[in-house]
């Protein structure tokens, strides 16, 4: 147990609970972005080899693509209604 991992873990736990409790749809995306920063850092600190860095980069870019699509759909759904 390292002090660096403990700090990142506490922030990730807080974000997971706040995603579950917030009512607004757009603010959940902000918390989800912060959570994926935390998980990407934890992956790199856990695996500790260059392959772990590749996994972290791939995961982060793909999760950004996914939240981009969700935000675009919220705007489109507001337009239709």
């Amino acid at each position: 147990m390292d002090i660096v991992e403990i700090i990142i873990g506490v922030i990730a736990l807080l974000m997971a609970i706040r995603i579950f409790l917030t009512r607004s749809r757009a603010r959940k995306l902000l918390y989800l972005c912060c959570l994926s920063f935390c998980i990407s850092a934890l992956i790199a600190l856990y695996v500790d080899s260059p392959m772990g860095g590749i996994v972290a980069i791939t995961y982060f870019v793909c999760s950004t693509l996914s939240s981009n699509a969700i935000a675009y759909t919220i705007e489109q759904a507001k337009d239709i209604e």
Binding site: I3, V4, I7, I8, I11, L14, M15, R18, S24, A26, R27, L29, L30, Y31, C33, C34, F37, C38, S40, A41, A44, L45, D48, S49, P50, G52, G53, A56, I57, F60, V61, T64, L65, S67, N68, I70, A71, Y72, I74, E75, Q76, K78
Partner: protein
Amino acid sequence: MEIVEIIKVVVAGIICWLNFVLIDTYFGLPEKPGVLGAKTIGEKIRDIGGNIHGGYFMGNIVCSPDASAGTLLASIMSYLMGVEGGIIAALLVWIGNRLCADPGYAGTIGALTITAIIYLLSPIIEAKYFIAGMVLAIFTIQGFEHKYASILLGKIAKKMNRGE
């Protein structure tokens, strides 16, 4: 010894905060929403009482990997591989930026500057502390309190002549 490590994390966090906020503001993130999803997040932030330009800043961070992602990924790769890792991270961040329909100036320049800073500061603060510092810095903007963070970002944008 724990006190020394916590002080190192906080100092690294302040350096990362200044790096990515200044670069993102200079390349015009608060000025206009780059993609359609950033617009709805900015209007939502304005509805709860924040600043619209700070809201556009937050929405652009969510919708495409900008200097914040460049800072985090370059510090990860330079913790694992040294200086060359930072250059590889800059290349991959550029590809991710173009996939999200963004020009990609902010991400690559942020990655290169944080690589240079880590290389210069490596005898004092190791690259491991910069990872935790970056997570702490993104927590103060995206996770802690949206209203006051957007007002602060709006003031910085007004001072640097980007947006109103």
